[in-house]
Subunit: 407 residues, 2 copies
Amino acid sequence: MALVVQKYGGTSVATVERIKDIARKVVAAKESGHEIIVVVSAMAGETNRLLTLAHQVSEAPDERERDVLLASGEQVSTSLLTLAIRDLGHPARSFLGHQIRIETDNAYGKARIKSVDSTRIIQALKDGEIVVVAGFQGVDEEDNITTLGRGGSDTSAVAVAAALNAKVCEIYTDVEGVFTTDPDICPTAKKLDRISHEEMIEMASTGAKVLQIRSIELAKKFAVPVHVRSSFTDVQGTWLVEEDESMDSVLVSGVTYDKDEAKITILRVPDRPGLASQIFTPIAEANIIVDMIIQNASEDGTTDLTFTVPKADYKKAISLVEKTASVIQAKGVTVDPHIAKVSIVGVGMRTHAGVAAKMFQVLAREGINIEMISTSEIKISVVIDEKYTELAIRVLHAAFIEKQGNL
Amino acid sequence: MALVVQKYGGTSVATVERIKDIARKVVAAKESGHEIIVVVSAMAGETNRLLTLAHQVSEAPDERERDVLLASGEQVSTSLLTLAIRDLGHPARSFLGHQIRIETDNAYGKARIKSVDSTRIIQALKDGEIVVVAGFQGVDEEDNITTLGRGGSDTSAVAVAAALNAKVCEIYTDVEGVFTTDPDICPTAKKLDRISHEEMIEMASTGAKVLQIRSIELAKKFAVPVHVRSSFTDVQGTWLVEEDESMDSVLVSGVTYDKDEAKITILRVPDRPGLASQIFTPIAEANIIVDMIIQNASEDGTTDLTFTVPKADYKKAISLVEKTASVIQAKGVTVDPHIAKVSIVGVGMRTHAGVAAKMFQVLAREGINIEMISTSEIKISVVIDEKYTELAIRVLHAAFIEKQGNL
């Protein structure tokens, strides 16, 4: 008898009928001899419905209260799934964040889990019950309700699996696992049987929307075996694993993209110490996350500074940047919201040179101009004109993944 | 500066616009110099929507899980109202049942409040915040979520007012206060300026839907001044007060009715000890609440036993009763769902004889047949044919209230 944690996302519990389907799936797993803990997200659409309500009563909703509001979504799906399981004749019990003290810091909207009290879950499992846990929510030290951000239920599931030392944490999605790239754009995309934590983190942070990054970090830290798989079929999905030597031979595991950023350039910034901080401090204070930053020193003592921000924030960012530009006597500000970031990710890059050069070559051959470049140990990202996104993905996938290993 | 508790029901927070209206009302009260605690119900219709979902996933929803589900309704309205108040520039903070430990017993769906921890509320008030408390919900000793039953937010409000020693607990409704009878049926109905706890309890238990009975009991026990008033006007409503001598002169304070019961009669029950218990035990075990019971001993050693149950339960009750009737060899079972219970309530009855006789006379004069009678110290209820309900109310109101004091 193994302890299995299963996480179901919002589309899996979007309707009464789907909730009943999941209940049957959960009961089947239990009847096959496992102890089951289920972690659920809110019914699809519910979080957005609640957010809309929040914005209807308040222009800038207070974060603590918004989290109280949003947490109700998981409370509904959790109790409904528990009711559906019980209706099939199996004992089941729901737990909200405060009932099993999923304790987090108090960063509302993006809280980080610090601990989970497993006492009540262990007792419920001993009583033969299927345990259903509300994802996405926790409480801080003072019992204020917190939420974990988009994809937070993944992290709830891994944290519960870690606290209970589960044999596996199964993340159910509407795809069959983690793919080498988006199959909708590139029909030759392949499902990966396994992927290292580091690669998964880079893929998630460059646009793959399979798992919340924090959940991968937790899985690595507590050695939780994570299995990303389809809620519609029984085929094996993708396992998240520790990196091993056999992976070195694979140069690139995935090609990702992100169309949600905009590019801002400040022209002719005087090249003096302290100016970068003068530019980025107001942006940080407005809670705008800057992704890539590039600065080219020029010979006339000025420099062009280019960076990217989320598209949703770029108007706010421009107005802040224009103020600073005038204060520091830069020449002006230009902006381009029609960009895309395309990345290749693979642990093989650590031991193989020439990957970046080949990437640039492949793109140049198609006439795709590279506007920005950013690299990490196992990732290369380029910013290009948005209209070339799909083409870039297909040629990079062909060059690096379909012809694996040829530099 | 006085501490005021205000309770708003579901219709007051039914839409985003109404929530904003209430927020303005609350802020005005705060700005007039009071400390304010607001207790809210779920948005009108929400509790029923959630109950429907529960019944769609489960034929007989588990009570613990149903309470988790229902409590989410108040979580939404509470956080939305807090957001709306903050949007007006006033600090405000929401508290759910578990955050201020509104501790109840574990009778899911009809839990009774045992205590409220006022620590966090006191701190928030000290910080100058308007406090918004989720009505209708609490937690038991083990932190399981409980709900208090229909009208439970009234009881939440009075319990919070008692714990904080508030100067007044204002219950806002869509009428101007407590009326002598239903103004929709009887246009001469008058608003009562004050009413004793005992009378209010009897009126609530015989059909007046103004306050949850438990809230009146708590108000009496902890001497909480309760003011039932309109959310649309500023006129004085009805105060709930301790009975005093001046009230004795008023024979009847209110005329109430209840069309939600059905009558069941078991014919020719052998008149043996223990048979009543044999009949009512299975009904009690099915959680069906029996209201009135009448038994007439006859000369042939048998008796006809008549009682009333909620209309919603009467089919279940009949099948149980028919089984018992055949076991105990009664002659048969008849049922009448088309009945109404009409009651008159008044503390003056304690000191004046002849009220019942006059009531029967007034009804007889209109040809209304009395099928059952039940009395308490300050109330007389009669069961009549449902079709005479409105007529009975009007003639009783005319005889006892419009011509106050004439026997």
